[in-house]
Symmetry: C3
């Protein structure tokens, strides 16, 4: 870990690491690069280079295949006059010798000035950031996040619509497996938006994203029960306002057919199409997938809707739309260069008063208390693809969780600090909290929910009573009596 005397190093692991003001500052710089270096034939392409980044080195660490993300980062650095070092298949390098990500990062941090990392494990970029004295940019970590894609998406929307606030965006395809979508909807909600999910069957937004949108990003689920449906299937929209005082305009309840009619009829500003993430689904899980084509886009609702896609596409977006004036997906890809130039510029502090560190509103401090115990001690993340579950990282990652308080004072859940997976308190038996000073435990998360940071250090959260007892804790008196009665 960096020496404590270092100034704070900013990382971009999640789109939520950036404040709205910071996102807008990135866009201002990106636009300035486009104005200065853009290709006059293509208003979305950087066609010339500057030397603002000269004598700086970007390290590309790609533990997973990528062409466009890696090459757009490298192009961004080269267009700034900087240099690149690349490891694009670490499966055949140090990682194969069993080296931990934490060690690799600390070595590479002595070579480069900034690192972009792509990794198949959720939360890998956060772990990298914990150990890096130089800025880490998340180039995609498992199914978790891909924040620079989201920056490109938002910038594309802003360029088309002259604003970021209160747009209506339809999102289509695999809403479950796409890390791009998850980063995107949180960002949209922060700027205020109507989000209309159009998932392929079985690829709905995950429960945790749904709840986070509602509980943490002030989105209302405005929905309509499909008439006559017995299976309870619903059509729904997420509605958020950028002006919190207008929230009262919406009905308080979450199912409101009048509001639904109003919002569903509004014209759509963009249709965001995503690829079926074939590599994340087994073959027999594969479902029919909505194809966005000229016929679909004929609906009057879409007459001014941009068609967006993070690319690559594999059939879900018809090529006949390529010459449609609403198609912006190649521009969207091209914006990757100025956007990444702007982000690198701010992380390296290359423009005066434009460093991410000097922004008055800074980046959002996590609002949740953090519980931490060494790996091997108590509960671990339930997400098997979490970087904290990787055997080669067990000495480097801790069991670290945000304590997220629920709707009532006695409910709550844990959220993995790396992969942001939520662990639910479904029943009283789900969590067992042991007190290392008193050597006993109680069922339920309650003792941890409102504990001070100091008190948290003396608590260990287990998955079951058996786990706590295995470590030598015994149930608090009453609990023991209760159990004796069984």
């Amino acid at each position: 870990m960096p020496a404590k005397s270092q100034p704070v190093t900013r990382h971009v692991v999640s789109i939520n690491d950036l404040s709205k003001r910071e996102i807008e500052a990135i866009f201002e710089i990106a636009q300035a690069y486009l104005d200065e270096l853009g290709d006059p034939k293509y208003h979305y392409r950087i066609g010339q280079s500057t030397d603002i980044g000269s004598r700086h080195i970007l390290a590309s660490l790609f533990y997973e295949p990528s062409t466009r993300t890696r090459l757009s980062f490298e192009t961004a650095m080269l267009r700034m006059g900087g240099e690149i070092i690349t490891s694009d298949d670490p499966a055949v390098s140090s990682a194969k010798k069993g080296e931990s990500l934490a060690d690799t990062i600390r070595v590479i941090a002595n070579y480069a000035d900034i690192i972009v990392i792509r990794h198949p494990k959720d939360g890998a970029a956060r772990l990298a950031a914990e150990y890096s004295p130089i800025p880490i940019i998340n180039g995609g970590d498992g199914s978790h996040e891909h924040p620079t894609q989201t920056l490109c998406d938002l910038f594309t929307l802003k360029k088309k619509n002259k604003r970021l606030e209160n747009m209506k965006i339809a999102i289509s395809g695999d809403l479950k497996g796409s890390r791009t979508i998850h980063s995107f909807v949180y960002a949209l909600a922060r700027f205020g938006a109507i989000i209309e999910p159009m998932p392929a069957a079985g690829m709905e937004l995950p429960h945790h994203v749904d709840r986070r949108l509602r509980e943490e990003f002030q989105s209302k689920l405005v929905s309509q029960r499909t008439p006559g449906s017995d299976d309870g299937s619903i059509d729904a929209l997420y509605v958020t306002s950028d002006k919190p005082h207008q929230q009262s305009l919406f009905a308080a309840g979450e199912v409101d057919e009048v509001d639904y009619g109003f919002f569903i009829q509004k014209k759509v500003d963009a249709v965001y199409v995503t690829r079926f993430q074939k590599e994340r689904w087994s073959e027999d899980q594969q479902q029919p997938y909505l194809k966005i084509d000229a016929k679909f886009m004929k609906d009057a609702k879409y007459s001014d809707a941009s068609v967006m896609h993070p690319l690559p596409r594999v059939g879900e977006l018809d090529i006949d739309l390529d010459n449609d004036r609403r198609a912006v997906y190649f521009q969207q890809a091209a914006y990757g260069v100025p956007i990444r130039m702007a982000l690198i510029t701010m992380l390296l502090g290359l423009k005066k008063n434009k460093s991410l560190q000097t922004f008055p509103d800074g980046f959002a401090k996590p609002e949740h208390p953090i519980y931490r115990q060494p790996i091997g001690m108590g509960l671990r993340c339930v997400n098997e693809n979490c970087i904290s579950r990787d055997p080669s990282e067990q000495h480097y990652a801790a069991n670290k969780f945000y304590i997220v308080r629920g709707a009532t004072p006695d409910t709550g859940r844990l959220r993995c600090l790396y992969c942001e997976t939520d662990i639910e308190e479904e029943t009283a038996k789900n969590f067992v909290v042991a007190d290392t000073t008193k050597h006993h435990y109680v069922r339920g998360l309650e003792p941890a929910l409102h504990a001070s940071d100091d008190r948290l250090r003396h608590l260990i959260i287990y998955e079951s009573e058996a786990d706590a007892e295995r470590d030598g804790y015994h149930a608090r008196a009453m609990g023991r009596v209760a159990r004796a009665a069984n």
Copy 2:
């Protein structure tokens, strides 16, 4: 596809995309780079760098293994002060997710200023060029072409012999599978040459190359029937003059034993050896291979012959020749750098009045009419390795063919626009031409051979009557009667 308002973007997919004047202009610039930046110790090596290409980016997209071609392109760009982005194993990147080449190219074209592509499929570089707003250089596409290798070969010959015209070149080895050889012999023929094939058994020049040399590049096949041979095997030379009026010096017939004796006795200017393309042949097809060594080169005919090889070699060229004064293969490889610098310079227009676009004689417009129908409509290319047969390209490539007229007005063939494979009209049944306005079809290619471009748009060429009928066409009246008789 590029917006229509763009100036024409030049690509180098085939050596035939360059006029003779343009090839010579490339050589002048390459020589200027050698004079200016060459290493005084090695007159064929670029040992210094300039900054003429600074702030430009070359993208290397290598879908197939390569060390020397990729590194020589990258060296060329770096020696010019430019930058490089590299994807040297796209099998593990976007292509793995099923992305089409057309989409990849359109994205990368937003990052780089020029692209070099190597691809295992014949015709891939032509498809890439169709979609690219920036120049595409073919770094080798399947068994099709490798034009920059040919430029190095010709430049090596010119440096050794002070001329390009009317040389006698022996070509040895695998003349069938070597894309290098195919590009090379067309270029030689254009400058006038005597070409002496010395193929390994079963690795003769393919029929289509033979015919193209004779029919389109004005080569005469001057040959001698091997005395007493029953199997009709012949020794033969291709003879072309750079001065068309001298063609009459040759006998009109294609088999002429007197001419053969004259040409075969001429001293050879270069022996061009090629590697056995092991990866393109199955194990049981492998044949004994002529080894070029000091003993072979002792023949007086070769006393001044340069020994050339595109490298890598695997045994067909003896290392004892490495120190022979006639061995030029390492120089030939080294010339790759100045030649590629010169080509990039002209494609990017970095030297005033030296852009490929400003050359008065321009590049050869295809002289053949083009027939085009969407993939799935009518006949497709018969070459299974053609990029147009690749499933992921089916929405991007069309069934596009040059209509090549034969020796008589009623004969002809089709040539795939991508891989340049010829489809023969062997019998009347080979082609069936349907008329989309009259809803009938006729056998034979004749209706398409002399059709105007406008008329061509209303014709669909099928492989068989069954195919045409399946699409709802019926035989023209007379045809129907004939079939009724069966």
Copy 3:
């Protein structure tokens, strides 16, 4: 091979290719880079770039996985303002087509100004150097050497201890398979050192390294028979003085329990930990491995001992030491950049009077006579992983051996010039020397041991009489009589 008119090209294949004076000159330049370009926050990190190497190209040829070595070389070149071309998986490039290393190097030498090569075969870098007109740096060849790692190691020691001479270094782990250790101990011995081996079971220093330390680097093995041990196991130290006249301080015999007590009690300057080279051992050979942790380091002997590790680590070095003031392994990795910058600077002659070629004491000429015969002629290297045994190199590598004279005038051994494996004269039958002028042979190496270079050219060394006879040699008269008696 380079033309004979070239100035001598220096290569760094073995740490022994550099004189002590040259090693110190490299360290002076490295320190100057650190002073000029180092990051003030980290006194071991290069944080800025210069342009001393601009317009020069480094080629990275990595035939074996590596992240840190490749990226630190590339960083070094970029921090100097130079450029890089990279082939980091030649398994999929020309090598796959069967190209020899000798040909690849001669081609790449026309592109770049300097080459760093990593290769799985022992001796590959020496073969590359034989064919390269530009400097070759060995980035690790099989189990043979890794000289730039050793330079980093020595520089780290020098920075910590303000001297290189007469340190006491404990070396722990896999002393058998680690090329890093072999380069390191030879270098330590040259500067004078007490080396304390702490091998994992079965991973002791190889016999040839032990003997070389003693016979060629003037180390004494000072040891103690473990009391009561029946298996003859011994604890031992290698002791060398940098002042040859002080060698007399040590007892002449190799086993001296009094000296052992003195040296073993001295405080240790550094504990050098190495990774278990999993990829070089089969699974059932794997043994318990000493773990260096805080507890181990509590011994007063280690109170000022730096903890070093070439990284990556896989469990043999506890991460709890990461924040220990004695831990220097991340600095050690970081020093890779200034050290490699300094080495490149000297090999390319970028600083006046600092070229490796202008050093008054030059590099050590091999002190042993060289025997050479073509591959296929007589004895070949016994090391199956030697580059000279690789089928694709058989036409390029010769059977080349140093003739190393033994303790008595009639004993000696052969040492492969590529991989430096020793071939022992265990018995009289081991070697058979044939005389090509007299057409007879004798048993034993003796005729070759003291032969002049001219005479050596007429001798062929065989492994057995049968081999010599197969080539048409017959035993010298007396020998024949002797054999007839059997």
